[in-house]
Symmetry: C2
Subunit: 230 residues, 2 copies
């Protein structure tokens, strides 16, 4: 029987690629999306589309982080536009986000009997988030063993980060070789009401540059005037 793996999944470019990699690496992926009170509910519709296209089960956990706040992605601060990338930790940082997401994935893994988690973090174009670094991921693996009934019983968890050392263009090339359809994925932090990408937030800029650098046509549907030009 194919071993299950939990893939943290947003319907974005990175996690959709992760899902395809988990399957390529021989796992039966179980997608876990977390609605954390973020503005971009369109992400979740993309998650449903991508999971359905891949024929993978999707669980959605509702988590309202607005009580904690502290991030542009949970509603208090404006999403920055046209910012040059790579200037420190941006306001789209969600405090302790990946710790929360991996903890939920760990709970799901324990229930499924899975020992493998996938998260699409990336140390190259990672926008400066502390909880995307390899040392954070290794510390979480150690914690997972101590945190669970399965760990007491001898299970050792592995947190797979297959995108860690790829740049966006490399992710796109890899995903295309695995058949990922990026036209149904969603990355924008601040889409228009019909789900079109703004083209100006950090996520749009990184994504658009990735397609340019990969030499691949950008399938993203942008809002009028939103097509990134840099």
């Amino acid at each position: 029987m194919t071993r299950p793996a939990v893939v943290l999944f947003s319907g974005g470019l990175d996690s959709s690629t992760c899902l395809a990699i988990a399957r390529e690496e021989g796992f039966a992926p179980h997608a876990l999306a977390v609605r954390y009170g973020q503005r971009h509910a369109h992400e979740l519709r993309a998650a449903e589309r991508v999971a359905a296209a891949a024929g993978v089960p999707l669980k959605v956990v509702e988590l309202d982080l607005r009580a904690i706040g502290g991030s542009a992605l949970t509603g208090e601060l404006p999403v920055p536009k046209d910012a040059p990338p790579g200037q420190g930790i941006p306001v789209t940082y969600v405090p302790a986000r990946n710790t929360v997401l991996l903890a939920l994935a760990l709970g799901h893994a324990e229930v499924l009997g899975a020992q493998d988690l996938y998260i699409g973090v990336n140390a190259i174009d990672y926008s400066g988030y502390p909880d995307c670094r390899p040392e954070f991921v290794r510390a979480f693996e150690s914690l997972a063993t101590l945190a669970t009934r399965a760990g007491i019983e001898g299970v050792r968890y592995t947190v797979h980060t297959p995108l860690m050392s790829l740049d966006k263009a490399g992710i796109i090339r890899l995903g295309r070789s695995l058949g990922v359809d990026y036209s149904i994925t969603h990355s924008c932090y601040d889409p228009s009401p019909d789900g079109a990408a703004c083209g100006r937030c950090d996520a749009c800029q990184l994504r658009a540059r990735g397609f340019r650098e990969a030499g691949v046509p950008d399938p993203t549907r942008y809002a009028p005037g939103g097509m990134p030009v840099r």
Copy 2:
């Protein structure tokens, strides 16, 4: 200025005692309650009562763990009654629960500028939960530094577990010395619709035994016939 501390808080006996200890230890406590899709919504009403009585701010994070499941406390399995305590890990274990709760507390701490977290875990009457052990708590402290912007900037987090080596009677004696009013706290996993305690689940049994062993009248309001007798 008094330093803030985040106290994970349910309105139960243990976390209400923790709140009083955090204040006694010189912190300005900020209570954080997480509604994790558990059956006992009465817990939250108790949390509001206890926080109001203590004059402490309370934040409530909504987290629907039912998508993950795997526990009697999230609705799939019946809460066991009249079970002898201490027989392995019970079905009220919520997979990765304290990892999720501490991750949320860490996010709240980072937003508040707090470096101190309190959690009312207990290695003696802990009902066999893996994520109540000291080694789990130390691993979480290590993770917290790596997980946050504050950690990168030099903050070191401390997870305080002042109840770790106390039994329930010891917790009750300490809490009473600090003025905790246990009549407004709630511990039962399966209360009646009006909030009265069942007297028969693990939590009721441990609590009632604590009052007996402390030689203190039990102020809990039990459902008819629910007063534990063992």
